[in-house]
Amino acid sequence: MSALPARPLTIGQTAAAPERAPERGRWLRPVPDPGRRAKPTLVYAIIAIAGVAAIVVAQLLLSIAITQGAYDIDHAQMQQTKLDRQEQQLREDLDRVQSPQYLAANAEALGMVPNANPVFLRLSDGKLSGDPVPAGTGAAASAPLVPNALIDGVPLVTEEPAGETPKQEVKPADRDEHTGAGGAAAVEKPAEPSVTDGLPTPATH
């Protein structure tokens, strides 16, 4: 391929070179033995390729980890949504039973009446102001006076079969359907604490 004229190769001749006249006709010299090829070139190639492969593999592993993370996140988010909905449902239930109308309805179902007759006891001298009379029992149901559509259809405390009041009449047949431990505990009256040395009194000034 090369059409360039060959140049004389001078190997190993340093100090004597400028003094020698170029020999005519001796332009052409055989190409010197380049020596053994260095084995390390293969190693470099292997290292380079291995490095590239390692980078690719690492990237693959990272993206797999990220994608797995995405699935975990998605799973956790779905759980959170479900739990959020549960929480909201429970909060709505709680609001419903916390409403004053439900409280009043339960109180009246248990036989209580509202009392609008305040009587004040002045602690310094024990003086009563006001006329202490028992509250009238003829009061009409007060819960419907201030309606609350949210409690429509919600059973009152006295209507539920698993009542919380220990004095509630409980049929053994009903009890067997609910968990036995809870039923037994509700039927027994709680043991009354024993009172020795009188009731504890606060130290007042």
Binding site: D74, Q89, E92, P118
Partner: protein, 607 residues
């Protein structure tokens, strides 16, 4: 040699040129895609692969002075069916049974109904319909539009129903969620809160409407890329197009427990007396804060349709009426403030008084001429006596005093459709009768809250505090709009104190003294039995009975004002007195107000 090289050169140059041209074409195309059309192509790609998702901005809560939640935002679900898909599902099943392809199958109406029945039977009880109704929705929608993809079968169902519907796994039924409003305490403060439209949450009345700017949240929008098969969002691809903002929390000055009590008492009395409506206003005397405002019958915002349209608002703010004798306290305070009288000034109060300008004033019941002091005029609630004192001021002076009390203009609350009241125009335009009737609260109109505010002024030593119902609006970042209130002096402290003492005598010696007795406290109160204008220049047969007062009178803390409209079974102030007694007792008891030490000073009523 040279010829070969030239040929080679030409080949080289030709191939180089070809290469350059090819590369150039690619470069131009690349530049076009990457630089020139980059954003448009990006948007297209994003649209094709990503899902826009609406992020709801929750509406703010309304809470009372103690933090009890009065109005809450919840998620509700509308159950939607796709009639087209339902029909396809039935057709597919028929095709699978008969072995033919689904496209060839023709369905008759009976087959469609029969095919839908199992799914409809499962679905219907969850949403409160019958299976026939569910099928009816589908068939009627298909009759209108065979390609219909959307039909509501149930609106506003709660989470239990939603979970149950999802569990059924019917392919052509899907729920759509949207935020809704719930009012945990029902009708408590329903008149003040107002309500929202069930479909889209638009506020319709009350504070929901007036404070919508504070309460409303803004919806946001974001989009993200997701995996095709299981819709998992790819991390790092979420783009927020619009940030969602939750609404702020609105804090009222109302106490929910007291509000419930007052509403209950008012409704009980309204039913017992057969009245059309009643209002009770409880205000703190020192701050002008409204701690309970009851309007019965009250709307339950969870179910506004259950009450009449007239009863769904708050008459305390929107219904002006002629106040009647409770206004005499304000006239007396004006006369005292101008120095034209003292509580012990003496006049003779006849049954009928005909002043020189031609008016004709008479008292409610016939009596002989009475020798009354100003205190006695208030105790006896004598119109003629009040006229004799009121005429010591000019009309303009009385009118300006009324304006100082902020009558004739809406209060600072700014309730929707709040009425300003009517002072019957300019005092120069008052006819001769009106000049006198305005002294005892007829011929002019006020709202219940204005009367309460006037009594608050008298109770607070003559300093009027702005009426407040909304304490603050707190955004989710914590910025609050609470402002301290500043009072203004309307009458001198001496005039206010003297008026207060006279009203204490009215309370102690008036004919209702036994009915409204609250032992242990000094109370000041005034009754009123006002005639109601019929809108045609005359008066109706019924009365508007009211009581306004404050306690404890030695250092007033609370003002209570009760008005009952047309109590047919008890057509006098005796209808409102028990309400006043119960409400005032409860307020004093609830806030542990110290009972009064000494009894009220004794002012003579007669001479």
């Amino acid at each position: 040699m040279k010829r070969t090289s030239r040929h080679s050169m030409r080949r080289i140059i030709v191939s180089a040129v070809l290469l350059v041209v090819l590369v150039g074409v690619f470069v131009v195309k690349l530049v076009d895609i990457q630089v020139v059309r980059a954003s448009a192509l990006n948007a297209e790609a994003q649209d094709a692969r990503s899902t826009p998702v609406k992020v709801w901005g929750a509406r703010g809560d309304i809470v009372d002075a103690n933090g009890t939640v009065l109005a809450d935002s919840v998620m509700r679900y509308d159950i939607v069916v796709s009639p087209k898909q339902a029909k396809l599902a039935v057709a597919e099943r028929k095709a699978a049974k008969s072995g033919s392809s689904q496209a060839d199958v023709e369905l008759t109406t009976e087959e469609l109904v029969a095919g839908l029945t199992p799914a409809a039977t499962e679905l219907a009880p969850i949403i409160g319909l019958t299976p026939d109704q569910v099928i009816g929705v589908i068939t009627s929608k298909l009759a209108e539009n065979p390609d219909s993809d959307f039909a509501y079968v149930a609106k506003q169902v709660d989470i239990e129903a939603y979970d149950a519907v999802k569990a059924l796994e019917i392919a052509w039924v899907y729920p759509k969620e949207h935020p809704s409003r719930t009012y945990p305490n029902g009708a408590v403060a329903g008149n003040l809160l107002g309500f929202v439209q069930a479909d889209d949450g638009a506020p319709l009345a009350g504070l929901e409407l007036a404070q919508d700017q504070c309460l409303a949240g803004t919806d946001g929008e974001l989009s993200y890329l997701h995996s095709a098969s299981d819709w998992v969002p790819i991390p790092g691809t979420e783009i927020v197009h619009k940030q969602a903002h939750d609404g702020g929390t609105l804090k009222l000055t109302i106490d929910a427990d007291l509000q419930y009590f007052v509403q209950r008492v008012a409704e009980e009395q309204r039913r017992a007396t057969g009245a059309k409506w009643a209002t009770v206003t409880v205000m703190e005397a020192k701050t002008g804060r409204l701690i309970a405002v009851a309007d019965v019958p009250t709307v339950d915002p969870n179910d506004p349709g259950a009450t009449d349209a007239d009863d769904r608002g708050s008459r305390t703010f929107t219904a002006p009426f002629e106040p009647g004798s409770t206004f005499k306290a304000i006239t007396a305070a004006s006369v005292l403030d101008a120095g034209k009288a003292t509580p012990l000034d003496q006049i003779i109060a006849p049954y009928r008084y005909e002043p020189p300008n031609g008016a004709d004033i008479n008292d409610s019941a016939y009596h002989d001429d009475e020798r009354l002091t100003l205190t006695g005029v208030l105790i006896e609630s004598s119109n003629t006596g009040m006229s004799k004192f009121g005429e010591r001021l000019t009309d303009r002076q009385r009118y300006e005093d009324m304006q100082k009390f902020h009558f004739g203009e809406p209060t600072e609350v700014g309730f929707p459709e709040e009425a300003p009241g009517d002072l019957h125009g300019d005092p120069d335009e008052w006819d001769n009768q009106t000049k006198y009737t305005t002294m005892f609260g007829q011929g002019m109109t006020t709202t219940a809250v204005q009367i309460a505010s006037a009594y608050q002024t008298i109770a607070n030593g003559g300093v009027r505090m702005p009426v407040s119902l909304v304490e603050s609006c707190t955004t989710p970042d914590g910025k609050s709009t609470a402002k301290p209130a500043e009072g203004e002096r309307v009458i001198s402290e001496k005039a206010a104190d003297e008026t207060s003492q006279m009203l204490e005598r009215v309370y102690a010696e008036g004919w209702l003294a036994d009915t409204w007795n609250i032992p242990g406290y000094r109370v000041a109160a005034k009754t009123g039995t006002a005639q109601v204008a019929d809108g045609n220049g005359g008066y109706l047969h019924g009365y508007l009975v009211s009581v306004s007062g404050f306690a404890p009178a030695d250092d007033p803390e609370y003002v209570v004002s009760v008005s009952i409209m047309d109590p047919v079974k008890m057509n006098s102030s005796a209808a409102s007195a028990p309400v006043f007694q119960k409400v005032m007792s409860q307020v004093l008891k609830k806030y542990r107000t110290v009972p009064s030490g000494a009894p009220a000073p004794d002012l003579p009523a007669t001479w």
